[in-house]
């Protein structure tokens, strides 16, 4: 159930009722975080942008400004985008004179599904790292990881596929993630290797060339 479809919840939100606001916070937080992460907000700025979004959304002006007709999610995401820009500017990661896309004319129609060159390079690098990590796993672990992370099964279902109990699957998944970090560390995780750096540079250059920049 969304906020705009629940009259009581909506009125509570408009009044600033604590329980209604907490419900909004818990219900919409994961979606807001996903939107922010896709908006070029890095892992180190995500918490600040998320907090700023909800502080703004819970201000009296924002509560009373919501008409209750449009989807609340869209209203909240607009607040999130602006909060993200302000947080990035405040942290010196976005130039103060840079204009947010949604403030330019007809920017709403600009498709933003394609990665920027930096995003594409980062994606290529992490894909390569995870593939290399997966290649070090035993058969049952790989089968579990595939079921869990690629096929999107629950822990229990993914565990059942390889004959692990629910508890066992939970423990193994946690170990798998910790092993992934250990793998990163072994490869020198704080700095990319010379080969990776070269690949990264090549990827960025090819994307620039393809875009005619």
């Amino acid at each position: 159930m969304e906020l705009e479809n629940d009259r009581q919840w909506l009125e509570g939100y408009r009044r600033g009722d604590g329980r209604a606001l907490e419900h909004v916070y818990r219900h919409y937080s994961p979606r807001v975080l996903r939107v922010l992460a896709r908006q070029n907000v890095g892992p180190l700025d995500l918490d600040a942008a998320h907090q700023e979004t909800f502080i703004r959304a819970f201000s009296e002006t924002a509560r009373l400004h919501f008409d209750g007709l449009q989807p609340f999610e869209r209203y909240l995401f607009a607040i999130a985008r602006r909060a993200a820009i302000d947080v990035l500017r405040a942290h010196g990661k976005l130039h103060h004179e840079a204009l947010p896309l949604d403030e330019t004319a007809a920017a709403g129609q600009v498709p933003s599904e394609h990665d920027t060159p930096e995003q594409a390079a980062l994606r290529a690098e992490t894909v390569a790292t995870v593939r290399a990590f997966l290649s070090t796993l035993r058969d049952d672990e790989l089968q579990f990881a595939t079921a869990r992370f690629i096929d999107g099964l629950s822990q229990e279902q993914a565990g059942a596929r390889v004959g692990w109990s629910r508890q066992n699957a939970r423990t193994r998944e946690a170990r798998l993630k910790v092993a992934c970090l250990a793998f990163l560390r072994e490869r020198g995780w704080s700095t990319t290797t010379a080969a990776a750096r070269t690949a990264l540079t090549a990827a960025v250059l090819s994307l620039f060339a393809a875009g005619g920049v």
Binding site: L33, R38, P43, D47, Q51, I55, R123, T129, F149
Partner: protein, 244 residues
């Protein structure tokens, strides 16, 4: 940066396993943001965990979502809460309650405020906190009677009520090689920020820590060195016993 936090690589497995508390994540993030070495490391680890779990470095993993939602909940909801409306009929019992509370807590509080005076500077306008730490061990704040063992390290935090203050710190005594540092004070009293100085305790004896706070850094340095100080300088002095 909170220098008494462990580096980010020590906290990442905890984040990956899930169940990291909001408070713990706040400390880890605060450290990562301020630590030159840790920031790229944290980002790289988070991107990789995201890729593993969600198939995209731009799609937060469930453990990350849970930790951030938990971390920000209190702050967001506290700020959103409207101030309580005053109710006239509550005033009489509230006033009576306040009188009783004052009578009950007056004497114990006197003792507490003495302790704060000792830790802070003149009239509570400035504060200096001294910590004892060692490799792989948690930092412990030193009170007046506490001692720190030789071979360990002293660390400091400072705060001032007034803005634009600088603190000059001189550490001397038979247990240390005399060192001094001066830097702007970035935090208020009650939320003191680390001073970029650590001092190794070389042998048994004592270390005298002198902190001078002033709006002019040169004035603060002079006062910390024991030279005559003008108006507007606050000096806090602590002697740390160094054992074993």
């Amino acid at each position: 940066m909170l220098f008494f936090d462990s580096h980010v690589d020590a906290a990442l497995p905890e984040l990956a396993r899930g169940g990291m508390s909001g408070r713990r994540l706040r400390r880890v993030l605060a450290h990562a943001k301020a630590c030159h070495r840790c920031a790229p490391l944290y980002q790289r680890a988070v991107h990789t965990l995201r890729q593993l779990e969600t198939g995209s470095p731009f799609e937060p993993a469930q453990v990350e979502l849970d930790a951030i939602v938990e971390m920000n909940a209190q702050e967001v909801l506290k700020k959103a809460a409207p101030p309580p409306a005053p109710r006239a009929w509550l005033w009489a019992p509230l006033a009576a309650g306040a009188l009783v509370a004052a009578a009950v807590f007056y004497l114990p509080r006197l003792h507490e405020s003495d302790a704060l005076e000792a830790r802070g500077g003149p009239a509570g306008l400035v504060a200096l906190r001294v910590f004892c730490g060692g490799a792989g061990q948690p930092l412990k704040e030193l009170r007046e009677a506490d001692e720190c063992e030789s071979g360990r390290t002293l660390a400091f935090a400072a705060g001032a009520v007034a803005e634009g203050q600088s603190v000059a710190l001189v550490v001397s005594g038979d247990a240390v090689v005399t060192v001094e540092v001066a830097e702007p004070v970035t935090a208020p009293v009650g939320a003191e920020a680390p001073v970029k100085l650590t001092v190794e305790l070389r042998r048994r004896g004592s270390a005298v820590v002198t902190a001078a706070f002033a709006s002019d850094v040169e004035q603060a340095k002079s006062a910390a060195r024991g030279l005559p100080a003008g108006d507007g300088v606050s000096v806090v002095r602590r002697t740390v016993r160094v054992g074993r």
